[in-house]
């Protein structure tokens, strides 16, 4: 029983990281209607910057994390402006290939700058673990902070999207770019802001991920990126609560599969569940499709 709870908590924690990454995929997809496959690599860049800030510049961890967030936000805006904006009216396939290209570009730049030897990410979360049930169950500090971050991000983002003017503009652009423009919304700027937010969140995810799994190499972001993308599709791509739910479910399924079925097959099981869900509900768990009235 305690084992089950402990696994559940690990799953929710891993899932929280997936969820934060998935938010970036889903927001960009919802607004720019593109899959930004380079998103996973922004995570890696964020983690490296935080690593450098602490190890080489001896910055306090909080400042290093902020630096990583700011750098990734800027990186997101630059990637969007240089690589994707010129392709706004190009076929989807061209944009997809470009995104894969950006992904390789980031990985190889990281290889050039930081070399291939793994870096050990410093432990920056110094929270004491919590012991429950007379010490039978231990919840690590990283786990707690990760879940907490996820909740804060979710609440802030939901409020931002539903209340703020920019958030409403984002919803309008995601529904209909032409109509949004007719309302006086600067569509390009809105897309840029979306990339900025998504990439800033990627930096947060990078720090959390490397705090839990402290080995940092240039391909660190690739697998979590793909899993988070899966989570976004799982929850219903384009839907913010969907990304959250998808991420957490994916994390829990992965940890349970590892613990109770097979470590080697855990990824296969995760993707098998995705396929089953999409067969039953092609738009994902919370995805919806509104038909237009003519």
């Amino acid at each position: 029983m305690i084992g089950l709870i402990s696994n559940l908590i690990s799953g929710v924690s891993l899932g929280s990281v997936y969820a934060i990454i998935a938010l970036g995929y889903t927001m960009v997809y919802g607004i720019a209607k593109m899959l930004n496959f380079a998103h996973g690599d922004v995570i890696m860049v964020g983690a490296y910057i935080c690593f450098c800030g602490i190890n080489y510049l001896s910055l306090p961890p909080v400042v290093a994390v902020l630096l990583a967030i700011i750098a990734c936000t800027a990186l997101g805006i630059v990637i969007e402006g240089l690589a994707y904006k010129p392709l706004r009216s190009a076929p989807n396939l061209a944009v997809l290939i470009t995104a894969i290209g950006v992904s390789y570009f980031l990985q190889n730049s990281a290889l050039l700058i930081w070399k291939s030897d793994p870096k050990v990410f410093p432990s920056i979360i110094k929270l004491e673990p919590i012991h429950c049930f007379d010490g039978q169950l231990t919840i690590g500090g990283v786990t707690l902070v990760t879940v907490l971050c996820c909740i804060v991000v979710m609440v802030c983002l939901t409020l931002f999207i539903s209340r703020s003017k920019t958030g409403k503009a984002m919803r309008a652009v995601s529904e209909d770019k032409v109509a949004a423009q007719l309302m006086g919304i600067n569509v390009n700027r809105t897309i840029s802001v979306t990339f900025a937010i998504g990439s800033g969140l990627a930096a947060v995810a990078g720090v959390l991920l490397c705090s839990a799994y402290p080995t940092l190499i240039p391909t660190t972001g690739a697998m979590p990126g793909i899993k988070a993308f899966t989570a976004a599709v799982f929850g219903g791509i384009g839907s913010i609560p969907g990304a959250m739910l998808g991420g957490i479910l994916l994390g829990v399924i992965e940890i349970f599969a590892k613990a109770y079925i097979s470590t080697q097959f855990s990824d296969a099981i995760v993707f098998a569940v995705l396929i089953v869900v999409l067969l039953i509900k092609p738009t994902g768990i919370l995805g919806k499709k509104i038909s237009e009235k003519v």
């Binding site: 529904e175 209909d176 423009q181 237009e292």
Partner: protein, 232 residues
């Protein structure tokens, strides 16, 4: 107020507007009529900056807007109710109206009330998701949304499309109410008969060029129009 001067507009290789010129003066209702594919919607899209002409010039309130980004135009007093309404289907009625007022900091309550006096039916449905409104209600919402920006020139692309005759009458009388309240109107219509009735002046588009122009009354009497658009 609006002056379109010899514009040529292309969709890739397709030459959709071939040297169109027309004018809308302050306080007028001007109708743009023509068969399917004549280029009416393309004209409105070009004026609102969704597309840009390859050659020619568009002036709005003495300002050259030929190559101005479309999103800057609502703030200058231009609004369009686009073809097919294009309301935000996943937002509520109120949110759609708020989007209409996007260029203002915060729309005053009177602006919403103003829309609701023209369209009482929207008031009952203010928190309903727009995608669940009937086609007629969606048209009302599209018009109300455009009104929220206090346009000086309101362009409507086939507001009567797909509506029952009784509702068409209602929509046309509301367009006249907007006009009476001081908004200049550029109206694109398939329903030439009704459009010519309320228009001060009208232009007839034929395969991307202006074939005829005149006052609404003149055109309604013209044999060519009767034959082509009014069914003999």
């Amino acid at each position: 107020m609006l002056k379109v001067d010899n514009i040529n507009v292309y969709y890739g290789a397709i030459h959709a507007l071939k040297g169109i010129s027309f004018e809308v003066n302050e306080g007028e209702i001007v109708a743009l009529i023509g068969a399917n594919g004549a280029g009416k919607s393309t004209t409105l899209k070009t004026v609102s900056g969704i597309m840009h002409p390859r050659t020619g010039k568009i002036t709005f309130l003495d300002e050259d807007i030929t190559h101005t980004d479309g999103y800057k135009l609502p703030a200058k007093g231009l609004a369009q109710v686009p073809e097919g309404r294009r309301i935000f289907l996943q937002m509520t009625v109120m949110e759609n109206l708020e989007m209409g007022a996007f260029v203002q900091k915060k729309p005053p309550q009177e602006d919403f009330e103003n829309v609701f006096t023209h369209f009482p039916r929207l008031k009952e449905r203010r928190s309903q998701i727009a995608g669940t409104l009937s086609g007629g209600e969606q048209q009302m919402l599209a018009m109300g949304r455009a009104l929220m920006s206090h346009p000086k020139l309101l362009m409507l692309d086939e507001p009567s499309m797909g509506l029952a005759p009784i509702l068409v009458e209602e929509i046309f009388s509301i367009i006249q109410e907007f006009h009476a309240a001081g908004t200049t109107i550029l109206l694109v219509e398939q329903n030439a008969e009704m459009a010519l009735q309320i228009a001060d002046r009208a232009y007839v588009l034929e395969s991307g060029a202006i074939a005829l122009s005149g006052t609404g009354a003149e055109l309604a009497q013209s044999d060519a129009i009767k034959k082509a658009y009014l069914g003999g």
